[in-house]
């Protein structure tokens, strides 16, 4: 049994005895200001419990709708028809479009890590350890999550505002009216494109981070580039790479589906689009961080058991 959102018949707002057929309808007034047929309705009483229950119902309905959208998206991923051209377009916009910010941010994050940790290592005369630190922190953690958050800022918001604008200008309805499933045409290509490009973007962040770390080590800690790279590569084992390869897929799914969900559930015109865009950014960022914690725990568990 699914929840229906604030519908009249569920809230008891409309009296049951109200006539069901047009013939029986009683017309009460003929003046412009008086509205006929609604005189026997009563205003619902506002109570604290009522507000809380409604908020809870709204939250549950949100989760339910989101889960349904995810489910329908999954189905469209494995059944034809596919919109390959849309997938390529989205890959260009999400993947290639995000590249500059990923390259720049990745480089400077790596450099900052060396600068911050270098001072500590210098105290113990172990500056060569910076390679280990940058590699492990970037590959296990910062690479996937930072890329996820940066792409969220750029793309989840973009997706939400684009789909939201399409929704308020009835383009989504027009699509449905012409026999196209919006989940298949709009949601699936964005999800596929993000799933395919985010792992690649993460790889770019990792690489640029290590490059940044290398440059900073050479110039501020007087390490040689060869030493930095050797330590960095030696520090990584298979378990680290497993985290590196699984996390981006989850983050990609989260940011793309939340962006689409928020876009397709816009209410209240252009103002609603703005609100949905903000919510998409906030919600997917938070969800990525939360998911990161759980994924790390799971990955560590498996690393412990398997490797």
């Amino acid at each position: 049994m699914f929840l229906t959102r604030g519908y009249a018949s569920d809230s008891g707002f409309v009296p049951q005895e109200f006539s069901e057929t047009a013939d029986e309808q009683v017309l009460v007034a003929d003046t412009p200001l008086q509205v006929a047929g609604r005189e026997d309705e009563t205003e619902p009483q506002i109570t604290v419990a009522g507000v809380l229950v409604n908020a809870l119902k709204g939250a549950v309905a949100d989760v339910q709708d989101y889960a349904m959208l995810c489910g329908r998206t999954m189905v469209t991923l494995v059944t034809p028809p596919y919109y390959l051209q849309d997938v390529l377009q989205q890959m260009d916009s999400i993947g290639a479009g995000s590249l500059p910010i990923i390259l720049l941010s990745g480089f400077f994050i790596g450099a900052v890590m060396v600068l911050q940790t270098g001072a500590q290592f210098t105290r113990f005369g172990q500056t060569s350890l910076t390679g280990d630190v940058v590699a492990i922190a970037l590959v296990r953690e910062l690479g996937p999550s930072l890329t996820g958050l940066l792409v969220t800022g750029r793309c989840a918001t973009g997706i939400a505002s684009e789909l939201g604008s399409m929704l308020v200008t009835e383009q989504v309805d027009a699509m449905r009216a012409m026999g196209t499933d919006p989940v298949r045409k709009l949601v699936a290509p964005r999800v596929i494109a993000t799933l395919l490009t985010l792992p690649l973007l993460t790889a770019m962040t990792d690489f640029m981070g290590l490059m940044g770390g290398c440059v900073a080590s050479v110039f501020s800690l007087r390490l040689t580039a060869v030493e930095f790279w050797r330590r960095a590569i030696d520090a990584l084992d298979f378990a680290d790479l497993m985290q590196r390869f699984t996390k981006p897929f989850f983050f990609a799914f989260i940011l793309a589906t939340i962006g689409c969900y928020k876009g397709l559930t816009v209410r209240g015109g252009t103002q609603g689009v703005g609100r949905a865009t903000t919510q998409a950014a906030v919600l997917s960022s938070v969800m990525i961080i939360v998911a990161d914690a759980f994924l790390t725990k799971v990955a560590l568990y498996f690393a412990d058991k398997l490797f």
């Binding site: 229906t4 604030g6 519908y7 009249a8 018949s9 809230s11 707002f13 409309v14 109200f18 006539s19 069901e20 057929t21 047009a22 309808q25 017309l27 003929d30 003046t31 412009p32 509205v35 006929a36 047929g37 609604r38 619902p44 399409m166 200008t169 009835e170 383009q171 309805d173 027009a174 699509m175 449905r176 009216a177 012409m178 026999g179 196209t180 499933d181």
Partner: protein, 278 residues
């Protein structure tokens, strides 16, 4: 448009609403709405804003589901159909949205060709058919423009062209003349008349402007002279045999307030209805 539009062979009602109820946010918009649209008939839905005109059209196209009641379109139960079947079914219906709802990332030509691309129609045929419908709405020259480069009236016409590309037997118009100047409105009405009289389209037309409805009831498009001419009678004259009447339906407070022909509406004693006639 070379071939005649396909329409259902049975002579029963094309669209039937039975006790339809729908609402949002704790308020019913339609409570118990029942009406029928016969084949080749034009039913003009009148009502103030928020009375459920657009909602009725969306219900008829299966874009929304009623919480109660039954909707039959072309002999199929739209209210109970699965979304997957509805997607295929909707290809038989043309929907003209209020603001046109053109895809703003596509050119006019791509917008009109959208359905054909979906059906994997070959490139040459797509071009041919798109040019044909765009010529029908007299906008062939705008093919490579984007919707943002068109005027409001032109966008509506492209929207009509897009709805026609599949040669539907039913067209649903959502306030096709809203916010347009009288001259542009006239162009749109002429298009609707042409569709009705040349291709025999069944139409459900939501509007706030009664004069649109009267224009549909009083005029017809003469295919021979390619001009709009005054109708001699409401569908009874020999030359107008295959034309169905235009009827009016006024929605008010969730129900059908009035249903009938033009004469009844014009001669009404009801104060509320008279407000539409001013």
């Amino acid at each position: 448009m070379t071939s005649a539009l396909t329409s259902s062979s049975d002579s029963g009602p094309t669209i039937t609403f039975e006790g339809v109820r729908i609402g949002f946010d704790g308020r019913d918009i339609l409570r118990a709405v029942s009406f029928q649209v016969q084949e080749r008939e034009t039913l003009v839905l009148l009502g103030e804003t928020g009375m459920g005109k657009t909602l009725s059209l969306k219900l008829a196209a299966g874009l929304l589901r009623p919480s109660k009641g039954n909707i039959q379109v072309l002999g199929r139960d739209v209210s109970g159909m699965a979304e997957r079947d509805l997607l295929a079914f909707r290809r038989q219906i043309g929907f003209v949205f209020q603001e046109g709802a053109l895809f703003d990332s596509m050119t006019v030509g791509e917008n009109v060709a959208y359905r054909l691309h979906e059906d994997r129609v070959k490139g040459d045929e797509v071009e041919l058919r798109v040019r044909e419908v765009l010529r029908f709405v007299e906008l062939e020259h705008t093919m490579d423009l984007f919707p943002s480069e068109l005027s409001g009236g032109m966008r509506r016409r492209v929207s009509i062209a897009r709805a026609l590309i599949n040669q539907p037997s039913i067209v649903l118009y959502d306030s096709p003349t809203a916010g347009l100047d009288p001259v542009t409105s006239q162009t749109i009405i002429t298009l609707i008349l042409r569709l009705r009289d040349v291709f025999g389209v069944t139409a459900l037309l939501a509007t706030q402007r009664l004069q649109d409805g009267f224009a549909l009831a009083n005029f017809r498009f003469d295919a021979a002279s390619k001009r709009v001419v005054r109708r001699v009678s409401n569908g009874n004259a020999p030359g107008e045999a295959r034309m169905a009447a235009t009827r009016f339906l006024v929605l008010r407070d969730g129900g059908v307030y009035f249903e009938g022909g033009q004469e009844e509406l014009v001669n009404t004693k009801d104060e509320y209805l008279k407000r539409f006639l001013v």
